[in-house]
Symmetry: C2
Subunit: 572 residues, 2 copies
């Protein structure tokens, strides 16, 4: 029982030395990876660098208490940081205390919303985000983030929340480019791409074990951080216009309270909902993939509670919205994390950093952090998916392309809303004009298929039609007209059989239309039958007077209908 | 060709004496019915009485030119008048010139919107209004309208757009009740109810023909109008506080122009869209019902153009939004209207009234008009539908009840928006958690049905599952988990067959989930097969690498799957 509320009580009871070794190694590697990332993502979110560290401490403990994944590494991530900047930027100026307070409020609201969803077991709401929409959203966000970081690489100022704004702003300021910054930026970016693509195979070839090779490769950003700090130190590059991170307050923040300001909360709520859902979808899919590899299970409703607790913790710990990170969780998993305690140990590592190591980062160039972000997000960009989805489904392609265009052209929130709305509308449009097939018997079988696709036998006074959709308000009237027209088009036809094998529901509007159809066909001297009506549909129909008014029969199978209507008394 | 653009050129060419006789008689009867109605509905819309007459002239000609129904009688109707009052009342004070101008702008925008829908052949959008939502909307609007007219019956002032507001306002003012007004109001209401329910049977019993009996009964409101005018005249009741219609300007209005005011247009646009769709849905269903009785056809897209033209004409003729009226169209049809010319003749009759008869209506008590409205709208109220729909479908009931509550409690526009949104969401929720059945063979047939509902044969190493829904983003992940859990729950199972007879589409998200499922089952040593995949679904699958990665086969029929998997080599 206790384990149901606090999953940690379960794994803590079974905890052993071997699990600890796995968790500890994973925590060390993730901590090293997380330090530059958390500084960089705070920068992306428009927040001071230390806020990234704060968002990487308490939230990890919150998730460890309530979450159900053994491998998920929670913390600041790129897409959520971008969404935070877009949301908070509307209500406060970057750098102001109101900005930081609004980011805390956003984390708090996200946390509450996730917990409410989890308690109501509404995790399935996340499934409204179709795969093409998520994929388009991530790709477009990656491009947007990479573009937004170019100003740090060039060492100029630029602003904007959409691609045209950002690009316009970059082009306008390009003559202000700072050469030392550009060299550091390009150097770091090139180095990090090389590390990501080439270093691991090289190390393997040199005889290192896979885990060690991977760990060294993942520490690439740390190397870039150290080298560029030393360059700034050595050559006094900050005097030459290279922008640096500057003073980072040392220590662990006191517990903060989210600002209680109902107007602000109402303003931020829509963004909090979007951030929660996007973060949840991203996170749960990583968690499920990793869990499946070890035959473990992750429950979507439990994940809602875990991420909710993490965000509430972020609010009280002076952070901003967090979620499970993709790359980080894979590293955590590969490094041997066995339980959520790996997350707690990572939090301890980050706490140690915040307490003692922040002075070391004073001379860290912002260009290095920008390079870290660019390399990380470009790996999320998958424009090839557009081509694959185009080949499979035009309507999925439309939803995906529209999401990308809207994210780049209008903004992240507009993009996600458009994508979800469009995929719902396209789904409805398809079911409003369903596929229909006139069917006949495949000779020698009891199988009935489309007369246009198969060699089949039909009866000339019987029209058998299969409608490939549930009958409901959006298609009821249209089907009524269509079936009537098909029936009266050929004067030989005396029976219409509606084959309901693909009809999963008949709503009240469709029932009304069916009644009208039976009546109209009756005046035309045509009998109307049903076949293969599914159990749940039949249960509902049998209490209506539709069955009473039906001029024909309800056949268990299309074969029954065929056999019965073939007999002479039905042939006039 | 010309007939396609202007349907009137078709019927005018075939026009003959017999058609004219039918049209003329219908026009006379409809005119008599329309005079009190048009005055009353203008009152309901918050407009001067003559505007009702104006809305009953040019729009009828506009519809006659472009519409396709031979029986539809266009003009002011109760629900649209109520919606006009709600929409225009937000932006202008009742009785002000701005109010009348906004009503004209509303008609113009509705007309444009209907024409655009018609040209784009988007008539199917109206099918998003499910039958329970329309039915609930009409019932609630009827109650709201009846309540709003009670102030005229009591002779007091009252206001409000929602039921609580109206009732509160009536209760607050009830001590101001004017006795002569109340007597006229109750008398007229009782008389009109008696006419509606009892007069026609009585006349038939006295030996009158059905058409004559009906025409006399429909003239009931005219009798009430004449008698109460004479009462006011004779006893000088207007001196006793009985509110009368007063001076109605004599003559036909000059052509008006809708005010060109972009801000106003933007403000009114959402209401114009709702009014257009509600008016269209009401109208097209009457037109189709009547057309079917004479084996004629009405095209939804043509009706959009006809009603669009009628509303544009209403704007230029000094009127307000119009649509086809239910009772009026039935009278028109029964009286023998053969072509839309009946509408033109009705317009001539109303024009004659506006030119010469308006002085006669000066002493008409508003209570009489209110009685006309109350009796007309209460016939639209169908609370019994709630019970019928409850018995058939709980989700349809929820949509209907929510629509009623929202219309009564918040307003007409909120009601329709909530109803449509709710029916869409309920539809999605249902398809997000589809019905599934484990199936077996009905012995001696090739038919496969639910093992829980039928006596069937199964193979103990094969799990055959039928999913009763298309596979798409909202249910993909859930189905993946569900199918996996079912497959691994019984260790004897070596084959899973997904029977796709009810799967009408597989979108990109679902394809992704199927691929994941195949992979997961493969690790568990279970083969995954498909059966009865529909043609259009197969067409899309065959270009993907899903089929290549599939561990099992795609069987034409479930029977094939059963026969093949029964063979020894599949039984280990």
């Amino acid at each position: 029982m206790l384990e149901k509320i606090l999953p940690c009580t379960g794994w803590l009871r079974r905890y052993d030395r071997e699990a600890f070794q796995g968790d500890l190694l994973a925590a060390v590697i993730v901590t090293i990876m997380l330090i530059p990332q958390s500084l960089a993502y705070a920068l992306l979110a428009g927040l001071p660098p230390e806020v990234g560290l704060y968002a990487s401490m308490l939230p990890l403990v919150g998730y460890a208490l309530f979450g159900s994944s053994n491998a998920l590494a929670v913390g600041p991530v790129a897409v959520v940081s971008l969404m935070t900047a877009a949301a908070v930027g509307e209500f406060a100026a970057t750098g102001s205390p109101e900005y930081a307070a609004a980011a805390i409020a956003l984390a708090f609201l996200s946390g509450l919303f996730l917990i409410v969803l989890g308690l109501l077991r509404l995790g399935f709401l996340a499934s409204l985000l179709s795969h093409p929409v998520i994929s388009g959203f991530i790709t477009a966000s990656g491009l947007l983030i990479a573009a937004s970081q170019m100003k740090h690489i060039l060492g100029i100022s630029a602003s904007g929340h959409t691609m045209p704004e950002i690009v316009g702003s970059l082009v306008a300021g390009i003559d202000q480019t700072n050469l030392p910054t550009l060299l550091i930026g390009i150097g770091a970016t090139a180095f990090l791409f090389w590390v990501r693509k080439k270093l691991k195979p090289l190390l393997r070839k040199m005889g290192l074990g896979p885990l060690l090779a991977d760990s060294i490769a993942k520490a690439g950003p740390v190397a870039a951080v150290i080298v560029t700090i030393l360059l700034v130190d050595g050559f006094g590059l900050d005097q030459d216009g290279v922008k640096i991170v500057g003073d980072i307050p040392q220590g662990i923040p006191p517990l903060t309270m989210p600002p209680v300001d109902l107007d602000l909360w109402l303003d931020l709520l829509p963004s909090a909902i979007l951030i929660s859902i996007v973060g949840f979808v991203e996170s749960v899919s990583v968690a499920q993939t990793l869990a499946a590899k070890r035959r473990e299970r992750v429950s979507a409703d439990r994940e809602l509670l875990g991420l909710g607790a993490a965000n509430i913790a972020a609010a009280f710990g002076g952070g901003y919205p967090v979620t499970g990170g993709f790359a980080r969780s894979v590293v955590n998993f590969d490094a041997g994390a066995r339980t959520p305690l790996a997350g707690v140990l990572t939090a301890v590592g980050i706490g140690f950093t915040a307490l003692f190591l922040t002075p070391l980062f004073q001379n860290l160039p912002k260009a290095t952090l920008a390079a870290t972000i660019i390399v990380a997000v470009l790996s999320l960009v998958d424009l090839g998916a557009l081509k694959r989805i185009w080949a499979y489904s035009k309507s999925d392609f439309i939803a995906m392309a529209a999401t990308i265009v809207a994210v780049l052209g209008v903004g992240v929130e507009a993009g996600i809303i458009l994508g979800v709305s469009l995929s719902l509308i396209l789904f409805l449009v398809r079911s409003a004009r369903p596929h229909m097939a006139v069917v006949g018997q495949v000779p020698g079988t009891e199988h009935f298929r489309n007369i246009k696709r198969h060699q089949v036998t039909t009866l000339d006074n019987v029209l058998s039609v299969r409608v490939d959709e549930s009958l409901y308000f959006a298609n009821a009237r249209w089907l009524e007209e269509k079936l009537y027209d098909m029936a009266v088009a050929d004067t030989k036809i005396k029976h219409v059989v509606l084959m309901c094998s693909a009809v999963n529901a008949i709503d009240a509007s469709a029932l009304e239309s069916l009644e009208a159809l039976v009546e109209r066909l009756k005046t035309a001297g045509i009998f109307f039958h049903l076949s293969e009506v599914k159990g749940p549909v039949m249960d509902k129909l049998k209490d209506t007077h539709f069955l009473h008014d039906l001029t024909g029969k309800v056949f268990l199978s299309q074969q029954d209908a065929f056999n019965t209507l073939r007999q002479s008394q039905y042939r006039e």
